[in-house]
Symmetry: C2
Subunit: 221 residues, 2 copies
């Protein structure tokens, strides 16, 4: 597994013992996921920590009646901790992770994870930091949901999506947007119609064209 730069991933890689470094290098393995494939949650077992090599993952939660909201997305170089939730004490919620694009992932198995947590204070502190980062992501979602107007949340999402796709034309359905931001399709459609009237976007079959990025940013602030 030469092509993973653990030095870049673990800020204190050099503070791990040679033995611990070797354990990481020996035990991790690579897996490929196709776009739309489930990586964690549901029927998938608890893999361990994931390091995204290429592609894009989406972490989300689902209600009993199938409503979804995206918690965070994982880009190349990002590490997913909650996919090791089975070995994390006190995590009482279940998240789902799916591949939003074809993705290559390195998996650090749960037993390696546990061995390192129990033997390396550097690793243990790093886990705390990773958890704090995801905790902060979720707090942002909570604040958005509770305190932010829907037009502003939709504008944020379109900007984020445009950045990810590096394009002003987004191939995404109203249903998919609703699932990302925890809303209903009807509500998304209504607001997109308003955005159209304001000359901010233009809609065509299965596509949204952003016409006025400045107005979109204006809605976020």
């Amino acid at each position: 597994m030469e092509n993973i730069d653990y030095k870049g991933l673990f800020p204190n890689w050099d503070m791990l013992t040679a033995e611990q470094q070797q354990l990481l290098l020996d035990s991790c393995y690579e897996k490929k996921y196709n776009k739309g494939q489930q990586v964690h949650g549901g029927n998938e077992s608890c893999l361990g920590m994931l390091v995204v090599k290429s592609g894009l993952l989406r972490a989300y939660i689902v209600s009993e009646n199938g409503k979804e909201i995206t918690l965070y997305r994982l880009f190349p170089g990002d590490i997913c901790l909650l996919s090791a939730s089975c070995v994390l004490r006190n995590i009482s919620f279940e998240i789902f992770i799916e591949a939003s694009k074809d993705s290559e992932i390195c998996i650090i198995p749960t037993d390696t994870f546990q061995q390192l947590s129990e033997s390396s204070i550097v690793f243990s502190n790093y886990i705390t930091e990773l958890m704090a980062a995801r905790f902060s992501d979720v707090m942002w979602i909570l604040e958005q949901t509770l305190f932010t107007r829907f037009d502003s949340r939709l504008a944020s999402f379109l900007i984020e999506e445009s950045n990810i796709e590096q394009s002003k034309t987004l191939s995404i359905t109203h249903e998919e947007i609703a699932m990302h931001i925890g809303s209903a399709r009807e509500v998304v459609t209504k607001m997109l119609k308003y955005f159209t009237q304001e000359g901010i976007v233009e809609l065509s079959r299965g596509k949204i064209h952003i016409l006025d990025m400045r107005k979109l940013y204006g809605l976020v602030q």
Copy 2:
């Protein structure tokens, strides 16, 4: 500080070295807060980890226009980690903590906190567990906010409050309830009127009397 049972608080107290145990015992100090007093956030500086000896603390977030939602409450024996947020890496949100009742609190100062995080793997793993517990609390709030009907959320809150106060008569305003569950006063008032019609509660000035606990539990499920 003889009267804090650290053995009960830190599951692995015995796995700390005698030196680390002594550091904890020597550096922590006690502080009293009156009901309504701010403990953390706003103008209060970053105290460190808090151990609740008596009373009740409330952790919450506030929007720009003053809307609030309660994230979790801390009872005697509970430990608050996020009051040490200034020494936690990657925590990018601000929470507020206030005393909901007159409270006695033991404070583990931030430098002790940092020394122990860096020297004890037992302590570091414990911090991860504490963070995971608060993270789970917040995920529950997020799921409630997104996925749960308002009548059910209000019913949950009344049951919880009744348990805390050990009484079926709650001295709380509609405004305060709205702040706890992240809603608006009008919405709370309207739902309480519906609960009254259904014979679930009876309202009088500044008080809510729970008449039918079974119906209330029925709304939660």
